[in-house]
C-alpha cells in the first residue's frame, strides 16, 4: 500500500513513480476527460499531470491518499484546459474507431462513444463545482470526506452539490430522452 503512510512528511519520497503512474493512469485520464478535456488532448494533459506529480513527489506529505493528491492536480490541469482556447476547437475533431476489430465490436464501440459524448454533454451543462463532486463521487467512487478535503469545502457543501448535480443530471437526461422520442415520432409520421 503506497497510498498512505504514517509519517507526516516526505511520504512521496518512498513511492515508486512507475507504480504510481500505472496504478493511477486510467483514473487520471478519466477524471480529465469527464472534467472537460477533449479526447485528443487527454494524453498530453495526462502527461502534464504526471510531470507535475513527479516534480512535487517529494512534497507529498501523505495526509491524503495518492489518488486524491493526483486528482487535485488533474482538476487544476483540466481547469486550465477549459480556460484555454483549445476546448473551443475540440468539437471540430471527428473520432475514428481504430484497429482491426470486427464490425460488431466497432458498432459497440461507436455506441459507447455516443453515450460517452452524451455523458460529457450532460456534465458540461453543470456548474463546474457540481460537476467535480458528481464525477468524483459517482464515477470515481471517492468518499465525501476525500472530496471535501480535496476541494477544501465542508462535507455539507459536497452533499448539497451532489444533490444539485444529480437533479441537473436527471433533468438533462430526461430532456434528451424526450427530444429523441419526439424526433423518432416525427420520423415515423
Amino acid at each position: 500500500m503506497i497510498a498512505r503512510r504514517s509519517s507526516p512528511h516526505s511520504v512521496g519520497c518512498c513511492l515508486d513513480f512507475e507504480e504510481l503512474y500505472r496504478n493511477h493512469h486510467d483514473f487520471v485520464w478519466r477524471t480529465l476527460r469527464r472534467m472537460g478535456v477533449g479526447e485528443r488532448d487527454a494524453m498530453d494533459a495526462g502527461q502534464k499531470v504526471f510531470l507535475i506529480a513527479h516534480r512535487r513527489l517529494a512534497m507529498f506529505d501523505g495526509r491524503s491518499t495518492v489518488k486524491t493528491w493526483l486528482c487535485g492536480i488533474a482538476l487544476r490541469v483540466a481547469s486550465d484546459y477549459r480556460r484555454s482556447a483549445i476546448s473551443r476547437r475540440e468539437v471540430l475533431v471527428a473520432e475514428t474507431p481504430c484497429g482491426n476489430s470486427h464490425e460488431a465490436d466497432q458498432l459497440q464501440r461507436l455506441e459507447e462513444r455516443e453515450r460517452l459524448a452524451i455523458l460529457d454533454q450532460v456534465l458540461s451543462e453543470m456548474p463546474v463545482e457540481q460537476r467535480a463532486v458528481f464525477v468524483l463521487f459517482e464515477l470515481e467512487e471517492m468518499s465525501g470526506e476525500e472530496i471535501a478535503a480535496l476541494l477544501s469545502v465542508p462535507e455539507g457543501t459536497v452533499r448539497s452539490r451532489l444533490r444539485l448535480a444529480r437533479r441537473a443530471f436527471s433533468k438533462s437526461v430526461s430532456l434528451r430522452q424526450s427530444h429523441s422520442v419526439r424526433i423518432a415520432a416525427g420520423g415515423e409520421s
Partner: protein
Amino acid sequence: MTNTKRWLDELPLGSGERELLLVGKAARPAEGAIDANWQALCATLGTTAISGTFATSAAASSSAAPAAASASAAASAKVGASIAVGKAASAGLFVVAAKSLALGVGIGLAVMGAATVVQHSNRSSVVPATATKPIPAQPARRPLLSAPPIPAAAPPIATEAAPVVSPSGVSAVLRAREPGVVSNPMPIQPAAAQPAVAPFAASTEERTASLARQARELAELKRLIDHGSPAEALGRLDKNFSAGTPSVLSEERDALYVQALARAQRRDEARTFARQFLLRYPHSPYFETMRQLLTEE
C-alpha cells in the same frame, strides 16, 4: 456524507442515468496509451529519474529545503538517492546502502547548491523545472511530425503549476528528447518559425484543388512504399518536410513516413517515430499499425 449512497445503487435498471454512469465508469484510454504515455514521460524526464524508488532521507531534506532550491535540484537529489537505494536493496547490503545513500544525498545537496547559485545569478531566465539535463541544441535536419501542426493534436495547455512543457506541448518535448533518436534528431520548431497557415484565406476551389493534389501525392507515395521503393518515398517526404508545406493530411503523411522507414529496414528510426506518432495522434486509425510496429521484433 458517509451515509450517502452511490446513485448507481439506487437508480432503476435500464434508466438513462444509469446507462450513462456505467459507461462513464468503464471508460478507459485507448489500448497501448498507458505504455506510450509512460515512454513519453521517460523521454521527457530522463529514464533514470523515474525508474527507481526514491530515498526517504534525501527527499526529506529536499522537502525541507528552502524555496530557493529548485525542483530540478530536488529531483537530482532523489535520483542519486534512488540509485543508491535500488542498488542496496538488490544486494541486501545495508552498509553499502548507507554509504551509497550518503553519496546520493551529497550529490543531491551539491546539485541543489549549484542550482541555487545559478538561480540567484540569473533570476530572469526561465529554467524548466523537471528537466534533469539541458536539452542540447540540435541541428535542424528533419522536421517530421512537427511539420504543419494539426490544431487540436498537440495544443498548448497553459498551466501555472507546470512551466515544464514547451508551448507546443509534451509531444514537442518528446520530439526533442527522444532517447532512441541517434541518426535523425528532430528539432523543436518554435511556433513562430513554422510557416503561417491561413486555411481560410484561399478560395474553396483552391483548397479543394490543394487537397486533391495532396491526396494524389500521398497515393503515389503509398504506391512507392508498397512497390519496393521506400527510399524514394522517403526522399520525397523529406523534401516535403523541408519545404514546410502545410498539409491537412499530415497525419496520413506522417504515417506513411513511419511505414517507409520500416520498409527501408530503418527499424530503430521507424519505432522512434512510431512512438511519436502515437503521442501526436493517439486516436488515429493508424494506431494499431504503429503499435504493432513497436511490439514486433
